[in-house]
C-alpha cells in the first residue's frame, strides 16, 4: 500500500474488498428475504408498510408502558436514530464517510429554534420541513465537494465542517445567541393527542410524552422512507457506485450526481434529527454539536453494522442507554462527575476500534454474513448430494 506506483492498484483492491465485509449489513437481498419468509408479502412497499404498522404499535406500547424518565430517554433515542439512519445510508450504502453530521444537525436545530421564536410560529410540520430543507441546502453544497473526495480526504473535509460550522453561530451571535445558544419554545400538544393517550392508556399526556411521540413519528417516517429508498433502483445504484466505480460508470451511472444525492438524502435525515433534538432538549447551542456528537453517530452505525437501519437503531440505543451506565461505573471507581461523564466517549472510542478490528461487519452485518454462509454451505451440500445421487 505504500509504493507510489502500485498504490492505485492496491487501493483498487482495497475498495473491492471493502463492501464485502465492512458493509455486509447493507447487502440483504430483499427478493431472497421475502422468498424465505413467505408470511410477508412479496411487494417491498407492502412489506415495509406492514413493518411500519407493527413498529408503530410496538412504539405506542413501549411509550405507554415506560416511566416518564424512560419516555424522555426514548425521545433522545429518536433523534440519534434519525441522524444515524441517514448516516448509515450514506456510509454503508454509498461508501462516503461523514464526520459533519453533527453540523448538519445544528443547521436543523437552529432553523427550528429561529422559526419557533417568531411571535406567531408556523405550524410544526412546516417548521420541521423547513429544518430539513435548510440541512438539504447545506448538504447539497457539501455533497458537491464531497462527491469528488474519498476515504481520508472526505473524512478530513467533513471534520473541518463539524469543527467549523458551530463557529458561525458564535460569529452571528445577534441571530443565533452566541455561546449561550437559543432557547426553543416547544409547541403545545394538540387536543387530539391528549384524547388519544386517554383512550390508549389513560396516562398523563405530558409535554415530554408528546415530544417522545413526535420523535417516534419522525423516526418511523424517516426509516420507512429510507428503507424503501435503499431497496429501490436508487439504493441499487448507490451500492454500484460504492462497490465498483469503474463498472458503474461504464453502465452509464453518473458517479458524482448519485453521490451528491446520497449526501442530500442523508443531510435531510440529519436536519430532521436536529429539529427533533432542538424540540426535545429545548436548546440549540454550539456546545450541543461538538465533534463528539458526529463521532458518536459514527460509533452507532459502525457498531450496528454499516448500511443497516436496524443496526443504526440498535447503535443509537447504545448512545442513549450507555452514558448513564458508564457514568455510574465511573463514579463507582471514584471518579468525580465531570470525569465520569467522559467514560462514555472513552467507551465509544474503544468500541469503534475493537469493532473495526475484530467484527468490521458490525452487529447486523455479522448476523447476515453468518446466515449467508450457512445458506451457501447448505446449497453446496445439496449440490454435492445431487451430484452423488446422479452418479
Amino acid at each position: 500500500m505504500s509504493d507510489l506506483q502500485s498504490s492505485p492498484s492496491a487501493a483498487g483492491k482495497a475498495t473491492d474488498e471493502a463492501p464485502v465485509v465492512a458493509t455486509a449489513g447493507a447487502n440483504a437481498s430483499s427478493a431472497q428475504a421475502s422468498a424465505e419468509r413467505s408470511f410477508l408479502p412479496q411487494s417491498t412497499l407492502l412489506r415495509h408498510l406492514l413493518v411500519l404498522l407493527g413498529s408503530a404499535v410496538l412504539a405506542v406500547a413501549l411509550l405507554e408502558l415506560s416511566t416518564p424518565y424512560q419516555n424522555s430517554q426514548l425521545a433522545t433515542l429518536t433523534y440519534y436514530a434519525i441522524a444515524a439512519g441517514g448516516l448509515t445510508v450514506l456510509t454503508g450504502m454509498n461508501g462516503q464517510i461523514s464526520l459533519g453530521h453533527g453540523a448538519l444537525m445544528a443547521a436543523g436545530a437552529y432553523t427550528t429554534a429561529l422559526l419557533l421564536d417568531a411571535d406567531e410560529p408556523l405550524p410544526l410540520p412546516v417548521v420541521l420541513l423547513a429544518s430539513v430543507l435548510v440541512a438539504v441546502a447545506i448538504g447539497a453544497l457539501v455533497g458537491v465537494a464531497a462527491a469528488r473526495l474519498h476515504g481520508p480526504y472526505l473524512a478530513g473535509a467533513t471534520l473541518a465542517l463539524a469543527v467549523g460550522l458551530p463557529g458561525l453561530a458564535i460569529y452571528f451571535h445577534d441571530i443565533f445567541g452566541g455561546e449561550q445558544g437559543m432557547r426553543v419554545r416547544a409547541p403545545q400538544a394538540p387536543e387530539a393527542f391528549e384524547s388519544f393517550i386517554d383512550v390508549v392508556s389513560g396516562n398523563n399526556a405530558s409535554s415530554t410524552k408528546w415530544l417522545a411521540y413526535l420523535g417516534t413519528i419522525c423516526l418511523l417516517i424517516t426509516y420507512f422512507f429510507l428503507a424503501n429508498l435503499v431497496r429501490s433502483r436508487i439504493g441499487r445504484t448507490w451500492r454500484a457506485v460504492r462497490d465498483q466505480e469503474v463498472a458503474a460508470e461504464l453502465a452509464g451511472i453518473n458517479l458524482g450526481a448519485w453521490r451528491v444525492l446520497a449526501f442530500v438524502v442523508s443531510a435531510a435525515a440529519a436536519g430532521l434529527a436536529g429539529a427533533v433534538l432542538a424540540l426535545v432538549v429545548r436548546l440549540a447551542a454550539p456546545s450541543g454539536f461538538t465533534l463528539v456528537l458526529s463521532l458518536s453517530l459514527l460509533t452507532a452505525i459502525v457498531l450496528g453494522g454499516l448500511g443497516s437501519l436496524v443496526g443504526a437503531l440498535l447503535g443509537s440505543a447504545l448512545l442513549v442507554f450507555l452514558p448513564p451506565f458508564a457514568r455510574d461505573m465511573g463514579a463507582s471507581f471514584g471518579l468525580d462527575q465531570t470525569e465520569a461523564a467522559q467514560v462514555a466517549p472513552f467507551v465509544y472510542g474503544v468500541v469503534l476500534i475493537v469493532v473495526m478490528i475484530f467484527v468490521p461487519a458490525g452487529f447486523v452485518g455479522t448476523i447476515r454474513l453468518r446466515r449467508m454462509n450457512a445458506k451457501a454451505k447448505k446449497a453446496m451440500a445439496q449440490a454435492a448430494a445431487d451430484a452423488a445421487g446422479r452418479r
Binding site: 481520508p152 480526504y153 473524512a155 478530513g156 473541518a160 463557529g167 465531570t338 470525569e339
Partner: protein, 294 residues
Amino acid sequence: MDYFVNVTITGLTQGMIYAAFALALVLIWRSTRIVNFAQGSMAAATTFIALSLIQAGASYWVALVVALASGFVLGAIVERVIIRPVEGGPELNAVIVTLGLFVAIQAAIAIIFGSSFQSFPTPFGVRGFEIGETTIPLTPTSLYVIGAVLVTMALLVALFRFTRVGLAMRASAFSQEVARLLGVKVGGMLTLGWGLAAVVGSLSGLLIAGGTFVYPAYMDSLIVFGFVAAIIGGLDSPVGAIVGGLILGLALSYVSGYAPRGSALVTISALVILIGVLLVRPGGLFSSTTARRA
C-alpha cells in the same frame, strides 16, 4: 504597517506549528496510506504528561524531552497494536479506527488529568524585542517555535537522506514488497515511522500550548488546520506540508486580524480554503502523481 507586520509574524509562527503537525500526518500517510486523525489527541496526551511534570517541579526542558519520548513510545505502540490489523485493508476501516482512537485518547485525558483549563508555561518571554525606541513584534517565544520546528525538520531530512535507517524507511514507503525482498524489516520501519511522526506531532502540540491554556480538546482545531495544510501540500510531499502550513498560517492570521470579530471565523475559513483547494486541484498544490483520484 506595524499591525501588518505583527499579524504576519503571528501567521508565520502559527504556520510553522501547522507545518510540523502536517508533516506528522504526511510522514504517516507516505508510509501507511493512513491519515492519523488521532494525531491531535496523541499530542494532547504528551502535552499533559509534560504539564504534570512541570507542575511537579521539573524544568521545561526535562518535560519536553520526556513528552517527546513518550510520544515516540505512544506512536509505536499505537501502530503495532491498533493500526497493524487494518493496514492495507479498506481505507474506511482505517479512518474509523483512527477516529476511535481520537475519541478514546481525548476522553482518557479528561478522565486522568481533568477537563479544566490549565495554563501551560513557555520557556521564553512573550514580549517583543526592542530596537532603540520601537518594539518589534517578534518575540523570543516565536523565535523558539520557528527554531524548534526548523531544527526538527533538519534532523528529519538528515535522517532520511544520510542514514541507513532512513534509507530503509524510504524503501519500505516506496515499495513494501521490494523492500522486504531486499531484507528490510518493513514492519519495524512502519513502527519507527509512526513513532517519529508522533514525536513531530507531540512537538507541535507542545509548541502551540506554550503560553496559553490547555484542555483535553485543545488540539481539535489543530487537527483541522494540520490536515488542511497537508492537503494543500498534497498529503504526499513533506515540502508541500511545510509550505501548506505557512500559507494556511498566514491566511488564517489575516482573517483573524483583519475581519471584524475574525477569530470566530478562523475554523470556517480553513474549511473554505480546504474545499477551494480540493475543488481546484484535488491532489493538492504539490501533488506529483496524476492518476490518483482524491
